[in-house]
């Protein structure tokens, strides 16, 4: 029991809180040095591949999941327990203080940092009561005694301090709540194609711990047009300058579709979810015919950008021919004349688009039961039958009478992140409250002031005004001389 009490006292002491703060800062550092699974899972895999010995050790120490690691959690949980243990008793004290009067005036006002005195013949009790009214008007809380007046100001400082710490607690809860019941998904949508809010339609989907799939609001949209503009010329040639996606949104299956434009920084917000435009690329369109001229494939295939000039790579899998056909290659929005590094694009806008394809014949391996990437061709059981360069409208007659491939054009696609975070509003409220609390607690001076009237032998009075600052805010002397001016007791020599 005694040990528990000792532990609790230690945990709630400022010294331990300080150490925990330093630990929290220190513990965050690896999260900025090593790639994190939460934000860049691909870079984590790359790191693990490049560092086969140290990688797994670091992984076991949660170096790639720092902010979800048990040791990070234990630091901030201890810090919040410490904070609660420190703030709760202070809140009680402050509550009592708010309901009580300022303390009795000290006997000797001369000892205080700011002190003024003068002689006057005015009536003692009248000075006290009149000054009490005048000081009260200036926002001081006053207490009258026999021959003295005690005043205090700046209670909002401690109120702000408590508000700040309390709002940090609310913020932590809001972050936890939002993460647990919300979700985050990404989806690639091609122009003229649609998306319906359904788990199976997402490319990646990360639900919170207690998220239920039935919580997905039944909205849907169609991507009508995507437009990207780029800097032309200058040091930043090719840098993106604007993205916009024109959507036709249906908030639920029954409602009328409405046009919405989504841009970076301007997401679509509907029924508790938010739709963000986060990426884009090209999807070249092909019509593939078999040897008899029958269309076996006709669609736009999403190619993924490999560089800032949008050299994009992708594949087309055609399972319905015998043997099966596969196309693998690059889409170049503006083909570069320089081929020393292979086919590359020199500008991200589709000024002079071309595709570079290699055709493969054999078994695509789709029936093996192993999950396959839609962006990669499994060429183990396939044979390359040719390579070709095509401009839009051109047709390539495949060798081996394997049919024809027509590059009919291209569409653009956009990546959307769709999130639901019901804790968001709470977090924002807590954040705003924390700034208000902080400002009050750091900028409002807490001060005490006293007035004492002492009768002298010659039937006059000595008036004393003194003040004490409980904080390090400047201007105590000025404020006390202001208060002294409000004392209606003319000076007598």
């Amino acid at each position: 029991m005694a040990t528990m009490r000792w532990l609790w006292r230690q945990l709630t002491s400022m010294r331990v809180a300080l150490i925990l703060l330093f630990l929290l800062a220190l513990a965050s550092i690896p999260g900025s040095i090593f790639p994190q699974r939460g934000t860049s899972p691909l870079r984590v895999n790359e790191f693990l591949k490049d560092n086969p010995t140290t990688g797994p050790i670091l992984d076991r120490l949660y170096m790639f999941d720092v902010f979800a690691s048990p040791w990070f959690a234990s630091i901030y949980l201890l810090l919040f327990i410490s904070l609660t243990g420190c703030v709760l008793p202070r809140a009680l004290d402050h509550y009592k203080e708010l309901r009580s009067e300022p303390p009795v005036a000290p006997r000797n006002l001369r000892r205080l940092p700011v002190h003024q005195q003068w002689q006057s013949n005015s009536d003692s009790s009248q000075i006290i009561s009149e000054t009490a009214v005048a000081w009260k008007k200036r926002g001081w809380r006053v207490r009258q005694g026999d021959g003295w007046l005690s005043a205090e100001k700046g209670y909002a400082r401690e109120t702000g301090n408590l508000l700040f710490h309390l709002s940090l607690l609310v913020l932590l809860l809001a972050v936890g709540y939002g993460g647990a019941v919300g979700y985050r998904g990404t989806v690639i949508v091609r122009e003229d194609a649609g998306f319906a809010n359904n788990v199976t339609q997402y490319d990646t989907f990360a639900p919170g711990r207690i998220f239920g799939a039935d919580q997905l609001p039944p909205f849907s949209f169609e991507l009508q047009e995507f437009e990207a503009t780029f800097q032309r010329g200058g040091q930043q040639n090719g840098a993106p300058r604007g993205f916009r996606a024109d959507l036709l949104v249906k908030d639920d299956p029954q409602s009328e579709p409405r046009p919405v434009t989504v841009e970076v920084n301007y997401p679509l917000r509907t029924s508790g979810i938010t739709v963000y435009l986060v990426g884009h690329g090209y999807a070249p369109e092909f019509t593939v015919r078999d040897a008899s001229g029958k269309v076996v494939w006709e669609d736009a295939s999403v190619f993924l950008p490999q560089d800032t000039a949008f050299t994009s790579s992708g594949v087309v899998k055609i399972p319905d021919t015998v043997p099966q056909l596969g196309l693998q290659g690059f889409f170049l929005p503006t083909v570069s004349e320089d081929f020393s590094n292979g086919p590359v694009s020199k500008f991200p806008a589709p000024d002079d688009p071309e595709v570079y394809l290699s055709a493969w014949q054999g078994d695509l391996g789709l029936d093996s039961g192993m999950p396959q990437s839609v962006y990669r061709l499994e060429t183990e059981n396939m044979k390359r039958i040719g390579i070709e360069e095509l401009a839009p409208g051109e047709t390539w007659t495949l060798p081996n009478s394997a049919g024809t491939v027509e590059f009919t054009g291209y569409r653009q696609w956009a990546t959307f992140v769709i999130t639901k975070d019901p804790g968001k509003g709470w977090a924002l409220g807590a954040a705003i409250a924390s700034i208000i609390g902080l400002s009050l607690s750091l900028l409002i001076p807490r001060r005490r002031a006293w007035l004492r009237v002492t009768a002298t032998d010659d039937r006059g009075n000595v008036i004393e005004v003194a003040g004490l600052s409980k904080t390090e805010a400047p201007g105590l002397a000025d404020e006390i001389s202001q208060l002294a001016k409000l004392v209606n007791a003319p000076e007598e020599k």
Binding site: A25, S28, P35, R184, V264, N265, L443
Partner: protein
């Protein structure tokens, strides 16, 4: 919209002009500092501090310090250095004005908020440092601080022009938001004021070491050359605390404004992006500083080291994270 090259060129010229003014100011402030003396000797400061320390030990109920007797006007007697100090002050105003114009022209040349890459941010940060210093010096004599302000500003502008320079251009879409003006300008203001706070904390450490040595009956040591030309350790500590206490809510605001913007731009208000992580670390360290100053056994030198560590995290976030660490905040323009 295209970039107006004439305005962009004028902006660059004015940056060079302001660097010339700041260089002159640095020289003038150095002369002024070399000739100056503080009114209270290191010995008296040391005595007063140890006396007030005993008072403090006696009263545990309140957090108050006995008020520091040196008032603002008698921080130091510049003596023959007064003239040089005045020249330094005027040149600093001139440099600040030119830098402000350079930033304005840079913004006008591209028709946007001029805070889109590290070059522009560095100009704004230098401006924030010198403007904060100029504004602070209106109501008190800060000529003794001039060298310690103009040197970092010159370093910052020099780096901006040589390493971080980027041509004036339009913004990438992610930065195209009114939050750029709110979030980044709040961060710039903090950068400026925290620079001054760190300079004051550093000077406090110099003054405190000298006073500690004298109080222990030793020679004031090498730091005395500077210590006897700047205000007492108590004053420096208080000034540094006031700046940090004033800026901490603004830094909190800068981080929260960033979170609100991140929610609109990236689909989450907090994602532990390296830049966010370091902003958080800075916040935690400065929070620790404010707590340390109210904790027995931590106030004084230890707290000052914490404040300087806080500033080091800002520098790290700016130079290392921006340039070498991959993240969403990769707008350095390099």
């Amino acid at each position: 919209m295209t970039v107006n090259e004439t305005l962009a060129q004028a902006s660059n010229t004015m940056v060079y002009g302001s660097m010339t003014a700041f260089t002159g100011a640095m020289v003038a402030f150095s002369i002024s500092l070399a000739k100056g003396r503080r009114l209270e000797t290191i010995e008296t400061s040391a005595q007063r501090t140890s006396a007030s320390h005993q008072v403090r030990m006696g009263s545990t109920a309140t957090l108050d310090k006995p008020s520091v007797s040196t008032s603002l006007s008698d921080d130091g007697d510049l003596g023959e250095g007064r003239r040089a100090g005045n020249i330094g002050m005027s040149l600093t105003w001139l440099g600040t004005l030119l830098l402000g114009m350079a930033i304005l022209f840079r913004g006008l040349s591209a028709g946007r908020v001029p805070m889109g890459n590290m070059y522009e941010f560095s100009l704004a940060a230098g401006f924030a440092v010198s403007l904060t210093y100029c504004l602070m010096s209106i109501s008190r004599d800060l000529r003794w601080l001039g060298v310690f302000i103009t040197v970092p500003v010159l370093l910052d502008l020099g780096l901006a022009l040589t390493v971080l320079y980027a041509e004036s251009s339009q913004l990438v879409p992610a930065l195209n938001s009114y939050w750029l003006a709110i979030h980044v300008s709040a961060a710039v203001v903090c950068f400026g004021a925290f620079t001054i706070g760190a300079a004051l904390s550093g000077l406090y450490l110099v003054a405190q070491s000298a006073e500690d040595r004298v109080a222990a009956g030793k020679e004031p040591g090498r730091s005395a050359a500077i210590a006897q030309r700047i205000p007492s350790a108590d004053r420096l500590d208080l000034m540094s605390y006031r700046i940090h206490a004033f800026m901490f809510p603004i830094w909190t605001f800068a981080v929260i404004a960033g979170a609100i913007w991140a929610e609109a731009a990236w689909g989450r208000y907090w994602g532990w992006d390296p830049k966010e992580t370091w902003a958080f670390i800075t916040w935690v360290i400065y929070a620790a500083y404010l707590h340390a100053r109210a904790t027995a056994g931590w106030r004084g030198k230890k707290a000052a080291y914490v404040a300087i560590a806080g500033y080091a995290t800002i520098l790290f976030n700016y130079f290392v994270v921006n340039i070498w660490v991959q993240g969403l905040h990769s707008y350095s323009g390099l």
